[in-house]
């Protein structure tokens, strides 16, 4: 630290130097030149190597210990393990997260000899002889890098081994971080990329005096790659992109104010960053999806979420090399798909609209899955279907009646408000066995067609205009409440603008009287697929609403470690793993957040009044970056409407722990403001030891949370966890 002493001489004596200090900000170090900094780094180099090895060793051993326990499916392994298997089997599926994480899981499984045959049906299923250790081991390995990265980041930000080791210790001995790293989940992969991105960014910031050198480029490009990785695993990666983006803007702003650089230099800096932090990640991200679509070429459970054109790519889908009558005819049985992305099939079922929601007639909805209730029969206005020979084709302008095949009700609309979109009219199923009324008649209109044009299956965009009211059949995309089985609302819109919501296509077409013709459907291009899958993912994400009886975790629960997640086991007889942070670690983190804010407030007011404090720059700059990271990974959850879980907090927790390391270290060192040496030195050592001891001891107490508990629950006598249920809300 002696190299810093010179930097922080009181500045109040001389007004000019103070303003200069303000303007140049981070450049105060540059007055010493790189050499001074280099010296400082040299002095901490050797113990830091040893400590780094120690951190790595402890980190790997805590994460890989008992990795194969319990030998059954735990919690969300049922999803991500299954999706890993889908990659091995090349089956198409739908998930709300981007594919990289699951691809890596699949790859790890493949490399370690897992054959993709285990069904992952529900948590608790025994793995038997399957090679699941590879997938778990892969996640745990990535998870083991987190404390190492934290160590390096804090070291870089604070130049203090103590701060770095505190941060690493907090993470190594946190039961939550251990548990979440040990299973087949996306979180360790996500956090690996987040931390790697932050580390590369911090390293890159340190290279600022060696612009365009090889190491400068290396860290810059690594930042970009890791950003793509983070976003490729989960959309939460967006938060770290924002963090890096803000840091880059700040950096460019600093460069812009540096009058020694010409505008051309600044443009170079800008272009380099634009390439490495925008263009490169975008290319990588798109590549991930390209691989995803190339690998998954077989029909699977996710087909119905996608458009007809998309489905025709998939081997095994009924639209792949489809063969059906080419033109829609009267008497055909069809499925009708909305053209809105993820719009669903026109659907009805034996349930009525509840009382108070329009007329009490049968529900008509849009449904994303393939189902017999999606089948409709096309009839003429007055049906005398006992006609022989070739059936007539349906043409633009024809009046049709659509009869629901299962329930024999007609598609019907009338002047009642639609259930959700009050500006539209309600659509129902009405009549029986084909007899209905004048409100069952719809006029077929081929978009861009003229009177008399036939309706091409799959290729024509069709609209259905209601004869009596003049409105158009419409899918609003809003999810109906429970009475509508959370399917999508279908309405009749009086606004006749042509939008995909009011356009439909005929997907399946069955008419035994017509010859089947092989249809080579227009293959969608890659960008269309990419866009479509993203829209479907975002819809899926916002559609994850909490269900009844399901525990809904609130963001304010998380930092106080209010409630964990059951990974495995409920009863006393089962092998239980409970995802819960080490309470001592988490509460220290929480207190440190408050402490940090207080210290920053005191330091900045003091600076503003012309006093100068040692460490205040590290506190404001380094701590500020970590604080920003914490905020960015935590605050957005308050505005999210989707269902939230405790494990969403873990990326934020990493930042919080690093901040704790930095804050506590500075607090201990600042003892010399109040105490004289050697007391201040003693205070510092005592504080560090106390911290270390409390973390280790609490880990000793709470380690069964991660490594598994059996026997009675904590509130019962004779439990290994007796007296450790410090909060009533913990469920172990």
């Amino acid at each position: 630290p002696n190299s810093f002493q010179t930097t922080f001489t009181p500045v109040s004596k001389d007004k000019n130097s103070q303003t200069a200090g303000h303007l140049a900000g981070g450049d105060t170090q540059s007055s010493n030149g790189p050499s001074g900094q280099f010296l400082a780094r040299e002095s901490i180099e050797s113990p830091s190597k040893v400590l780094l090895m120690l951190v790595a060793g402890l980190s790997f051993s805590t994460r890989l210990y008992m990795i194969t326990e319990p030998p059954h499916v735990c919690w969300d392994e049922t999803h991500f393990g299954k999706m890993g298997s889908y990659y091995i089997n090349r089956t198409f599926f739908f998930d709300v997260h981007p594919p990289l994480g699951k691809m890596l899981i699949g790859l790890a499984g493949y490399m370690s000899g897992y054959d993709g045959t285990f069904p992952f049906i529900k948590p608790g299923d025994k793995y038997e002889n399957q090679n699941y250790w590879g997938m778990r081991g892969f996640c745990a390995t990535l998870g083991s890098f987190l404390p190492i990265f934290a160590y390096l980041i804090v070291l870089e930000l604070s130049n203090s081994c103590t701060a770095a080791i505190i941060a690493a210790t907090l993470l190594i001995f946190d039961t939550g971080c251990i548990t979440i790293s040990q299973y087949i989940l996306l979180d360790p992969i996500l956090m690996f990329f987040i931390m790697a991105a932050v580390l590369s960014m911090v390293k890159f910031n340190q290279q600022r005096y060696r612009s365009f050198s090889a190491s400068w480029w290396l860290w810059l490009v690594l930042t970009g790659i890791n950003l793509a990785g983070a976003l490729g695993v989960k959309f939460v990666g967006l938060f770290v992109i924002i963090l890096v983006g803000l840091n880059t803007i700040w950096d460019l702003w600093r460069l812009l104010g540096d009058m020694s650089l010409s505008l051309v230099d600044i443009a170079k800096h800008f272009l380099a960053r634009a390439f490495a932090l925008i263009l490169l990640p975008v290319i990588l991200y798109v590549t991930i999806f390209a691989v995803h679509f190339v690998v998954l070429n077989k029909s699977g459970p996710g087909d119905g979420f996608f458009s007809s054109a998309f489905q025709s790519r998939l081997i095994g889908n009924n639209l792949h090399n489809a063969s059906m009558p080419e033109y829609l005819a009267f008497g055909s049985t069809v499925t009708i798909k909305n053209l809105r992305i993820a719009g669903g099939y026109l659907h009805s079922h034996w349930h009525l609209y509840p009382e108070g929601v329009g007329a009490r007639q049968q529900q008509v909805t849009a449904y994303l899955h393939k189902d017999y209730n999606n089948l409709w029969v096309v009839h003429r206005q007055q049906d005398n279907n006992s006609q022989s020979g070739n059936p007539d084709l349906v043409r633009h302008g024809d009046i049709v009646r659509l009869e629901h095949k299962e329930t024999t009700r007609n598609l019907h609309s009338h002047l009642h408000e639609a259930p959700l979109t009050k500006k539209h009219f309600q659509v129902t199923g009405y009549g029986i066995n084909g007899t209905g009324d004048a409100n069952d008649l719809w006029q077929v209109e081929v978009c861009g067609g003229r009177k008399g044009d036939p309706v091409k299956v799959l290729r024509s965009k069709v609209r259905f205009l209601h004869r009596a009211t003049g409105c158009v059949l419409y899918s609003s995309g809003k999810t109906l409440p429970k009475w509508g089985w959370e399917q999508i609302e279908v309405t009749c819109s009086p606004y006749l603008k042509e939008t995909p919501s009011s356009q439909w296509n005929i997907e399946d077409h069955i008419n035994p009287k017509l010859p089947n013709i092989s249809l080579s459907v227009l293959k969608p291009n890659f960008l269309e697929i990419l866009l479509e899958s993203h829209i479907v993912m975002f819809r899926g994400n916002s559609g994850l609403k909490p269900k009844d009886n399901e525990m809904n975790s609130k963001p304010w629960h998380w930092p106080i470690n209010y409630q964990g997640l059951r990974f495995s086991g409920v009863n006393a007889t089962e092998y239980r793993v409970y995802l819960l942070g080490n309470p001592v670690v988490w509460w220290i983190n929480l207190a440190s957040l408050g402490l940090y804010l207080t210290m920053v407030a005191v330091a900045s007011i003091a600076t503003q009044r012309g006093f100068s404090l040692e460490h205040s720059l590290v506190l404001v700059r380094g701590g500020g970056l970590l604080m920003l990271g914490w905020l960015l990974h935590y605050a957005p959850f308050f505005t999210m409407g989707r269902i939230l879980y405790f494990h969403h907090y873990f990326p934020a927790m990493l930042f919080s722990s690093m901040l704790t390391g930095l804050t506590l270290d500075i607090l201990f060192r600042s003892a010399d403001l109040l105490l004289h040496p050697p007391y201040s030195y003693w205070f510092q050592r005592a504080g560090q030891l106390l911290l270390l001891f409390s973390i280790l001891y609490s880990f000793y107490l709470f380690h069964p949370l991660s490594y598994g508990m059996t026997g009675p629950l904590a509130h019962e006598p004779g439990s290994a966890m007796a007296d450790l249920k410090w909060m009533d809300s913990w469920e172990f």
């Binding site: 812009l256 505008l263 979109t421 009050k422 009886n549 007011i605 012309g610 809300s729």
Partner: protein, 716 residues
């Protein structure tokens, strides 16, 4: 301004005639023909019911905002002698002659009119010229949507008034330190008290104030002591005063509304007991301590989905449910949202047979084991390892019937008083929150919140749950009605249950407890959000893609719409864009050391941006994140900030950007032309703003400047 009274008696007065002129015009546009239409217009139907309740001093909860707004509307009604006897049931209903419509609408209209001079003064405080000030005032004056919103019994104009007043008085203080700061604090408190939306403007003001204070702290020519005093002064005026005021509105609200009313049931029993004529009428004089033999009704502590009481009736669970699962076929136990004789339960000592209270009564304490007997059917409250009808992961709760199928009675319940630290170990009426823990299975009696199907008469399901969240109020029950049972025989007892309860005690609940409960309920009560015919999304507001029909004459085409002045709207958007663009260019160039404008002008420019663009942002962006049903009128506060911005930005461009005289003149001419077209558009839309004169269908068609506007035509 009055300077001083001196001898010889001389009065020196300075009157800004422009200010007087715009004020007069504002009063004329907002206040003329205020009582037309003599019918309920749009949200008057919503606020009106609360005004009526105020007149009758009946307690209510409105989750749309804190009570000050309602109080202001109610005070207008009070001045006009409104007695609260009007049914606010539909838009367009004619007011009877007894209702003084003018006074109902007076206060919002006054606030709306005062916004115009306030904007004038605020521009001056932002250090722009009188001409800019006049421009801003005219923009506000000729904004049709603001006129419509001011002329009815609605709250936006009041909110805008207080927000503008807060900024004006703060800037006045900042420019020349004086006692204006306290007025700023008061206005902030009032703005937040009218609508929660005011909070965002208040936060912006705090940010501006803290930036100024931060500069003050950095000023080393001022002594430490002085800095301390100044900072504390600001904190007192801008933080403490608004918070105290906010609480004060609730104090007035709660002390004024002391009668029970339609929203009682949302509140806790203790709260209800403090209202006149509500629960207190029923429960006055009940015995306080629940004893063995007590007859009680048990109310669930959650009010979601609706408040209800533990209930049973002489109908059994169906042998098989629709999905094929079986039940115990014992008597149903449900939660019923209405008062009913079947809500009565008797507390029995498991060790004794009798159902009457001893003398002296033996109170039930925390940890005691009891049985609960249903008063009318004498069945015991029972639970067992059978899946509940709607929530199969929990246990069924039933009134026990012995069918001799080796399903023994499990009817012991342990009393767990969860607020025993605050209250006492003894089970008390209304005050104690009790959990009933099933002794055999240690499951807890719980309201699941799901309604039963037709066989359960759509009442709410009650279950016993083993896996429960520790602090869930769906597990808590309170005794609401209570009496000591005296009848030995069942017949006698039934008669007793039918008779009303009465005896005498008085219970008080502190203001703070009431305040916290009311505030919490207001923030958490979710009314079912459904789309409204005229609701819109925030992005539609910027381009005014939407309008709201406020009123349509019952027989003619005369109608009132919330439609802004499209030209001013365009000017506002343009200036918003221009400011941002200019700011970016300035910032980048200043960073490279190129100072286009002197520092003083730059500070003025930044201050303008902080207040106006910042004001627009904080009043617009939050709506993008909201799940609520939103309307065009929510955009009006944000719009006012833009009207403040436009003329000031024009002046800035005129003085500092345009160097040649011809350009400056061209700008002036352009500005005049825009003002003229604003006036003409205002005139054009006047019939839709004031509801008269009536237009023909053809003329209305001509006013439909956008396809997405809904203008109503009557077919004749």
């Amino acid at each position: 301004r009055w300077e001083m009274l001196q001898l010889p008696l001389v009065v020196t007065a300075q009157v800004d005639l422009l200010l007087v002129l715009v004020s007069l015009l504002a009063f004329w546009t907002r206040l003329s023909h205020l009582n037309y239409p003599n019918a309920v217009v749009f949200d008057e139907v919503y606020y009106g019911q609360f005004v009526s309740l105020y007149m009758k001093r009946v307690f209510f909860i409105d989750d749309s905002g804190p009570p000050l707004g309602h109080m202001i509307l109610a005070s207008g009604a009070y001045l006009g002698g409104f007695d609260g006897n009007f049914v606010w049931n539909r838009i367009g209903a004619e007011y009877p002659s007894t209702v003084n419509v003018w006074s109902l609408r007076l206060l919002p209209a006054l606030c709306g009119a005062l916004c115009v001079p306030l904007v004038y003064l605020l521009t001056l405080e932002l250090k722009f010229s009188h001409l800019s000030a006049l421009g801003a005032a005219v923009l506000l004056l000729l904004e049709n949507s603001l006129i419509v919103q001011s002329r009815f019994m609605l709250l936006e104009s009041v909110l805008i008034f207080f927000v503008l007043l807060a900024f004006f008085s703060y800037l006045r203080f900042h420019n020349a330190p004086s006692s204006w700061l306290i007025l700023s604090g008061v206005s902030c408190g009032a703005a937040v008290g009218v609508k929660y939306m005011g909070l965002f403007s208040y936060l912006l003001l705090l940010v501006v104030a803290s930036l100024h204070t931060w500069k003050l702290i950095g000023d080393k020519t001022i002594s430490h002591m002085n800095v301390c005093v100044q900072s504390v002064h600001r904190v007192l005026c801008l933080v403490v005063v608004p918070v105290l005021l906010y609480v004060f509105w609730f104090y007035v609200h709660l002390s004024f509304l002391n009668r029970s009313g339609p929203h009682d049931q949302l509140m806790s029993s203790a709260f209800q007991a403090s209202l006149q004529g509500g629960l207190s009428r029923i429960t006055r004089g009940q015995p306080l301590e629940v004893a063995y033999g007590s007859q009680v009704t048990l109310r669930s502590s959650v009010s979601q989905p609706i408040p209800c009481w533990l209930h049973s009736h002489k109908v059994n669970y169906p042998i098989r449910y629709d999905n094929g699962r079986g039940s115990s076929h014992q008597q149903q136990v449900t939660c019923y949202p209405f008062k009913d004789v079947n809500n009565w339960w008797i507390i029995k000592d498991p060790g004794r047979q009798q159902l009457v209270v001893d003398t002296p009564p033996r109170p039930v304490r925390h940890g005691d084991v009891i049985q609960l007997v249903h008063g009318m059917t004498s069945r015991f409250l029972n639970s067992h390892d059978v899946a509940a009808p709607m929530s199969p992961h929990t246990q069924e709760v039933s009134g026990y019937i012995d069918f001799n199928v080796s399903m023994p009675a499990q009817n012991l319940w342990r009393v767990d008083i969860s607020n025993r630290e605050a209250e006492s170990e003894v089970w008390k009426t209304i005050l104690s929150e009790v959990r009933l823990i099933h002794v055999n299975t240690s499951a807890v009696l719980k309201l699941s919140g799901v309604s039963l199907p037709d066989w359960g008469f759509r009442q709410l399901e009650v279950v016993a749950d083993k896996l429960f969240k520790a602090h869930s109020s769906s597990l808590e029950w309170t005794v609401e009605e209570h009496r000591y049972g005296t009848s030995q025989e069942q017949k006698e007892r039934e008669a007793e249950l039918h008779s009303p309860t009465h005896i005498d005690v008085d219970r008080k609940i502190s203001f703070w407890a009431k305040f916290v409960e009311l505030q919490w309920k207001m923030l958490t009560v979710k009314q079912e959000e459904s789309e409204h015919k005229y609701s819109s999304s925030p992005l539609e507001w910027i381009t005014m893609e939407t309008n709201i029909a406020y009123w349509l004459h019952s027989s003619t085409n005369a109608q009132i719409h919330l439609i802004g002045n499209p030209v001013s709207w365009g000017v506002a958007n343009l200036s918003l864009l221009a400011y941002q663009l200019l700011a970016v260019v300035y910032l980048l160039r200043r960073r490279r050391g190129l100072k286009d404008v002197p520092d003083g002008v730059w500070d003025q420019f930044v201050c303008l941006g902080c207040v106006c663009v910042g004001g627009w942002l904080v009043n617009f962006v939050p709506f993008l994140l909201m799940d609520k049903t939103l309307f065009l009128y929510h955009y009006l506060p944000a719009l006012c900030y833009l009207y403040l911005l436009s003329p000031a930005l024009l002046e800035h461009a005129h003085t500092h950007l345009l160097s040649s005289v011809t350009h400056q003149r061209a700008l002036c001419v352009g500005a005049l032309a825009v003002l003229l077209s604003i006036f003409l558009t205002y005139r054009t839309f006047c019939p839709l703003t004031y509801g008269s004169p009536e237009l023909s269908a053809h003329q209305l068609q001509g006013l439909k400047w956008r396809d997405t506007w809904d203008i109503l035509y009557r077919r004749r």
